[in-house]
């Protein structure tokens, strides 16, 4: 009992301290502002399905793409000590492929959607492999390597789309992007749960988590221990490619439209931020997927809160920046170390006091 409480006081929630505190503060802030903020209602959508609604649903629904990308980004960060800044552009490509394949069929059924998704997955994973090869084989810094796709990705998506913003409309697509008949929970949320489960299963049944951390912490040591570091790094990018494809397809399905210029625009920065807020070191090594997912929800809740407060969306980014600076500084090693010392000093002081009493 004492050991456990000591451990918690020493480590807090560990890595998750910052995202949990941030979420809690945001929840409290919103509840004070509007006690009914998180109330969940049931409405019937225009397709006649009973669905859940409310700010809470908006938050977990809206953060779906970001949460999925954050999972992949965490892996890349951990393995390569760098970030992939091309995820938004790659998602635009994945989404374009998805739409292109769907449009090749005269009618859209569940089967064709799955086929289109697999195609988009293959393409996104190939682009992931391209990034991964540059990073792992050619030893180019991740940010530089992915800058290439960041720059040309949306142009490639433009070629795929033939310059237009093609639309697809089908009950299957709107079921993926919003609500499936008979399920009151938004489909993107369910997809996040599925993807998270897939990754947890991968970590559970393989040693990928350990290997990734080993590569991230000390590459040479990992290699000397017989780990194929090149493969692990490449794999992290390919897995991110899978995440990119999933979020791209969700993004497209939400609106039934692919706009290569705006689909998941600037999401790469939010994804990196989610990883950072999640308490993961952007310098690689140890990581927690759950932290990054929480980070994604923090970012989304912040955005929704600001919208609900009718903060002008031109100012939203500035407010977001202020909160994020605060979070990142609090989570920085310097502040953490300082807090730890402060904590220890107060502890030893109180202990010292006890000792003096005794000697006296």
């Amino acid at each position: 009992m004492k050991g456990k409480s000591n451990r918690i006081s020493r480590n807090g929630l560990g890595q998750l301290t910052i995202p949990v505190i941030a979420l809690t503060l945001l929840v409290i802030f919103n509840l004070i502002r509007d006690p009914g903020f998180f109330s969940i209602g049931i409405t019937h959508n225009n397709y006649g399905n009973a669905v859940l609604s409310g700010n809470f649903i908006s938050i977990i629904n809206g953060a779906s793409e970001l949460a999925i990308l954050a999972i992949g980004m965490t892996l890349v960060t951990a393995a390569t000590k760098g970030q992939d800044i091309s995820v938004g552009a790659a998602a635009a490509i994945a989404g374009s492929v998805f739409v292109k394949v769907l449009k090749a069929f005269s009618s859209i059924s569940v089967g064709t959607v799955i086929f289109a998704f697999i195609c988009s997955c293959i393409v996104a994973m190939l682009f992931g492999a391209f990034n991964g090869t540059l990073v792992s084989v050619f030893k180019i810094q991740p940010m530089i390597a992915t800058l290439i796709l960041y720059t040309c990705g949306r142009s490639i998506a433009y070629w795929i789309n033939g310059g237009a913003t093609p639309t697809v409309s089908s009950p299957v697509i709107s079921a993926i992007g919003s609500f499936a008949p008979g399920i009151p929970i938004p489909m993107p949320v369910i997809i996040v749960i599925i993807v998270t489960a897939i990754f947890y299963l991968i970590f559970h049944f393989t040693s990928l988590e350990l290997l990734t951390q080993a590569v991230g912490i000390n590459q040479s040591a990992a290699r000397l221990n017989g780990i194929n570091t090149t493969f692990i790094k490449l794999l992290s990018f390919v897995l991110l490619g899978f995440c990119v494809s999933v979020s791209g397809c969700i993004g497209v399905s939400r609106l039934g439209l692919i706009n290569h210029e705006t689909l998941l625009l600037d999401v790469e920065m939010d994804a990196i931020l989610a990883v950072a807020i999640g308490g993961n070191s952007l310098g690689g090594g140890k990581f927690k997927i759950s932290g990054s997912i929480l980070g994604a929800y923090v970012i989304q809740m912040l955005t929704i809160t600001l919208y609900a407060m009718k903060v002008s969306s031109t100012d939203v980014k500035a407010y977001k920046a202020v909160v994020i600076v605060a979070l990142v500084v609090i989570g920085s090693p310097v502040v953490k170390e300082h807090c730890r010392k402060l904590f220890q000093r107060t502890k030893t002081q109180s202990k010292g006091g006890e000792c003096e009493c005794r000697t006296l």
Binding site: Y47, T151, T262, S313
Partner: protein
């Protein structure tokens, strides 16, 4: 739409290399052409910018074609400095006319001055530039403010018992945003319409959806969505669909979009939207007519005539004629 500021940040050196190479090879081909044709240098934004730009570029290519007696040299970039270099290049090559849709409104004085000295006539299209009017023949532009007024007047004609408007703006500071916001702001100030929320989604569909979602969650009343482009209107409608709010011709909420993409006009035809304002990308014909007539344009600013489409009256023919994209 014209979201140049956002996209401009993403362009980098190697895309510049590509575009310059492409430009170079094109001009080599062109140098062999005979002197009887009119050489036109077009400095434009890349067709990938938007459906608008794609239609604009296609229009330029079809009007300034060999059959019509033109030699077209085109350069596309979202970056002002690249555009400036290209324009300077066209002047050195000695084109007859220079057509410019600038990425930014500033920095063009010197280039236009040297064009004037070289005797090259300059037409601006789509966007105006902050320079002395003597430096160009005419600017063929859309009147965005008029587009907004047309839409707002249409809205007033609907005689709704009350107007509670969700106003979703484009990228702040862009011509389209300023123009299309103006007319509605005037109504808000006059008190004829109530502003439920006024937010920019910077042309982003998903952002527009979030904005409307937050209004729905706050349970505020609204019956009009005024989105400054088609994509954002689609995002807004997605939020309405999820919340079970009817919209369009027979619905509770009036949906207004801009740009006349084909898919958006189809929404009008099927009655799920109410109104779509045109932003015409077809300036090439007007400029070509001016060039061929050889006359001095009557005014420095030539407004491109634009329409608005109503779900009640739109026809398939309108979609085929005026729709952009596919």
């Amino acid at each position: 739409m014209r979201r140049l500021t956002k996209v401009a940040a993403a362009v980098m050196a190697f895309s510049l290399c590509f575009s310059l190479c492409a430009c170079g090879s094109e001009s080599e081909k062109a140098s062999g052409a005979s002197g009887s044709t009119i050489t036109v240098g077009v400095v434009n934004n890349p067709p990938s910018e938007s459906g608008y730009r794609e239609a604009n570029v296609k229009d330029m290519e079809s009007v300034f074609s060999k059959e019509n007696g033109y030699e077209l040299k085109a350069f596309y970039s979202l970056k002002n400095d690249e555009q400036l270099q290209a324009a300077q290049g066209f002047i050195t090559e000695g084109v007859d006319y220079l057509l410019i849709s600038a990425a930014e409104t500033t920095g063009w004085d010197e280039v236009l001055q040297s064009a004037k000295e070289a005797g090259i006539k300059v037409y601006l299209f789509d966007r105006k530039i902050d320079v002395d009017e003597s430096l160009y023949e005419a600017a063929v532009v859309s009147d965005m403010a008029k587009e907004g007024e047309t839409a707002v007047n249409w809205l007033l004609d609907q005689k709704l018992p009350e107007y509670n408007v969700i106003h979703i703006q484009g990228a702040m500071g862009s011509d389209a945003q300023i123009g299309r916001t103006g007319a509605l702001d005037a109504q808000f100030e006059a008190g004829t319409m109530k502003k439920v929320v006024q937010q920019t989604a910077t042309w982003d569909e998903a952002e527009a959806k979030k904005i409307v979602e937050s209004v729905i969650n706050s349970k505020e009343k609204f019956n009009v969505i005024y989105a400054e482009n088609d994509g954002m209107a689609k995002g807004a409608v997605a939020a309405l669909d999820e919340a079970g709010i009817t919209h369009g011709k027979d619905g509770d909420v009036v949906v207004i979009g801009f740009d006349c993409n084909k898919w958006a006009l189809r929404e009008l035809l099927s009655g799920t939207w109410n109104y779509d304002g045109q932003c015409s990308p077809f300036q090439a014909k007007i400029i070509s007519d001016l060039i061929k007539s050889g006359k001095e344009p009557s005014s420095k600013v030539i407004i491109n005539e634009e329409k608005g489409f109503d779900a009640k009256t739109i026809t398939q023919g309108d979609i085929d004629t005026y729709g952009l994209g596919e």
